[in-house]
Subunit: 486 residues, 2 copies
Amino acid sequence: MAVPGEPTIIPILARPASAAAAEQGRTCGGDDVAIDLDGLFPHSEEIIRRTVRSFEDALIDIWASSGDAAKPREAAEVGLDVPAGPRELADVVSELRRHMLPACLNTTHPGCVAHMDTLPTLAAAVCESITASLNNNMLFAELSPAFTTMERELLRWFAARFRLPDGAGGTMTSGGSLANLLAVLLARHRFDPAVRESGWTHGDRAVVLASDAVHASIPKAVMALGMGRQALVKVRSDAEGRLSIDALAEALRKLPREGRRGFMVVAVAGTTVTGATDDLSAIGRLCREHGVWFHVDAAYGGAVVFSAKHRPLLTGIELADSITFNPQKWMYVPKAAAMLLVRRPELLAEAVGVRMPYSNGSPFNFGDLSLQGTRPVDVLKVWLNLQLLGLSGIESLIDHTMSLGRHFAERVERSVEFELVSRGDLNICCFQPRDPAADPQAVRKRFLDRQGCLLSLPTFRGRRLLRAVLLNPRLTFEHIDRWLAG
Amino acid sequence: MAVPGEPTIIPILARPASAAAAEQGRTCGGDDVAIDLDGLFPHSEEIIRRTVRSFEDALIDIWASSGDAAKPREAAEVGLDVPAGPRELADVVSELRRHMLPACLNTTHPGCVAHMDTLPTLAAAVCESITASLNNNMLFAELSPAFTTMERELLRWFAARFRLPDGAGGTMTSGGSLANLLAVLLARHRFDPAVRESGWTHGDRAVVLASDAVHASIPKAVMALGMGRQALVKVRSDAEGRLSIDALAEALRKLPREGRRGFMVVAVAGTTVTGATDDLSAIGRLCREHGVWFHVDAAYGGAVVFSAKHRPLLTGIELADSITFNPQKWMYVPKAAAMLLVRRPELLAEAVGVRMPYSNGSPFNFGDLSLQGTRPVDVLKVWLNLQLLGLSGIESLIDHTMSLGRHFAERVERSVEFELVSRGDLNICCFQPRDPAADPQAVRKRFLDRQGCLLSLPTFRGRRLLRAVLLNPRLTFEHIDRWLAG
């Protein structure tokens, strides 16, 4: 089957000609315990359509959102007992609708602006039923022939968007934290390939530098990778969370005098709290000068690469050795959909590849490039959104939601009750009551109860802030005006 | 909102009363570039139903499987170009059906027996459209209130199935490799909590012991975690891949005489190639005796815990400090659905928890227990299958597919062409041509071309084997007889 140099292609297999005849025993188990195989694993068009339609009303509950905000329910009402025997699908879906959905966060609601968790396009959400039915595995190309090609090509395409050179690629990961973990592992490997065999031997004499506003996954990665958290040097950031270039330059100069060496700098394009974007050109130049791995965590902000108007924010990202980017955020793809893009992807196999005896020997397998083994197909929904939206559609969504963010910030600035703490560089606004005695928790509750608007309450520079992430494209200026009118 | 000690519950938010009035601007972008927000992010029942039904025929392609095995297509035929502007959903789905699906592996086909990648129940696959629409995040309880409760409770329930003591729990992970990585990290932390701050300082004087048939994720974990692959001691296994108890006992005795110490043993319930299951009681007793962390990788074989007939294979698993178990394999749940169960789950937060300033302060967050941050909801489809099948249904599926495995092995044993190399302990059979000159690759191709049966070709003890994993409950004895009749 294998074509040298190409992934092995295995087609959708036809059912054996005599399958119909062979299929007696449509139930399995003893006489008293029978399982409806035709219902659970159907071949018939009618049952397939019926199963799909069982879930339609639940989707309408979510998207047409008939929930009642005034009556939060306890999730404990949901029946978590496992029954002794089979139940009807209709009953289970009805329980899901009555008891579980009302206790869920509904990200399709325009008032759901608390976090970087957006609604996806409905088509991308429904497409997950296709992905899940195929149940292909990104571990080996033979288990996911079409999707291995698709993921490889689209990663190259994304790398080109960020103006990484030809040959750049990478791997998708089940979330941005895993992409960041892999980036630190890669930088460690470039710094000292012997760690793979001999373990970490540098104590705190080799360090990763990152701003004090960096995502929690970076200290977690340094710790997990056996370097210890002492091997992370935190560099000062400004009032909105942008890494101080002076402080970074000083740290890189000072370390060798202490017998230490920085081997990696992590910059951020869109910090988690304020959406601040670092000066990537200046950081990239410092990294080149000092021979240090340059990683950009663009999990959130990377999406502005699709906007002619806003992409200058990312100038300098083309100097990166690696980039974390999550379509699961601002590209309206359901989670998980994250990626690590790498200037020299061949380093990934060097750093993490191990022999997998159960492979049939396809020449290219994503499992060789990842800490994950069996991995679901996340690329199909990314492809679907790219096709549905096209470049101009993505640009429109980015520009539109950036303008919502600007409107929110302007509205806060004109408010008598609140002051703007940070508008970041993106569509995220942090603000606080002008009255120092006001309780941010109580304000948050008021926004939710009266306006149906769910804010988050992050801690930043020791203060509790109110924060809005303006991602939902169906939000209007009028929603925002109403929320902030009190 | 927060009830102390309980996850914060946030309901499906109602749309603000005046939302309808506020919703002008159903497109965004300039006059020349307009995005159909009503179509992409619909509120109307009609559009929601239309979107769901756009994918129905693609689901029928997969489940009623009209593909043509004789004509493998190149995945390159799929259009990976990203268009300049939006496309119609119907056109994109039509391209998916015509060009992409025929190049995919179809796990619903009864002949697809190559790997541990099974078909899921159709209901669990379709349910992914619900999960993806809600797009809840397992990072914080406030972002996934119902699902945080559900995952926590079901993990306790699974832990109880394996007869871990009260208080046992854990976390779901996006695949078994990540569960194994977390287990090694946990054992490392129990051995030396100072590694978290100071990094690995033990060189190869502290080691993990695992059989030479252990899954590739274990050497990968030891390497990634900064201990170096030298810190993995491989222990001999028998002809079918079962860890030698004598060799393990000897290694544990010998290490201290060399100034080394084993701090973890990894046992396997269902090795990847042969499905061999280690003697968990004997290994567990040795671990207790030597004060060593006992991890069981039951990613595959753990499912037999649901069968009265086959669960004795797992006797001794109740001694484990941690267990990897993947419902994404033998429980017919689409991937990813994997978990790490831990006797003392409080160790997880100690080992990997870091401060997350953007959290609103829910008392329990899965993000504190995991290397993953943003994580999709994998538990809903596990819940759905448990409800649909019930305990007796799962037991029937396990027992039925075990009997398919036994039948396959007996049929190989009676065959003139093949000999059985290993029947493992589960529903996996490894065999080879009796004629030493026969090429396993050619035999594999013949099975696929003539019988529509896709086998895998793992390497084991230096030999290329043919391997069948008999997971599909719609397989019949007749299919197997026909395949092996040649």
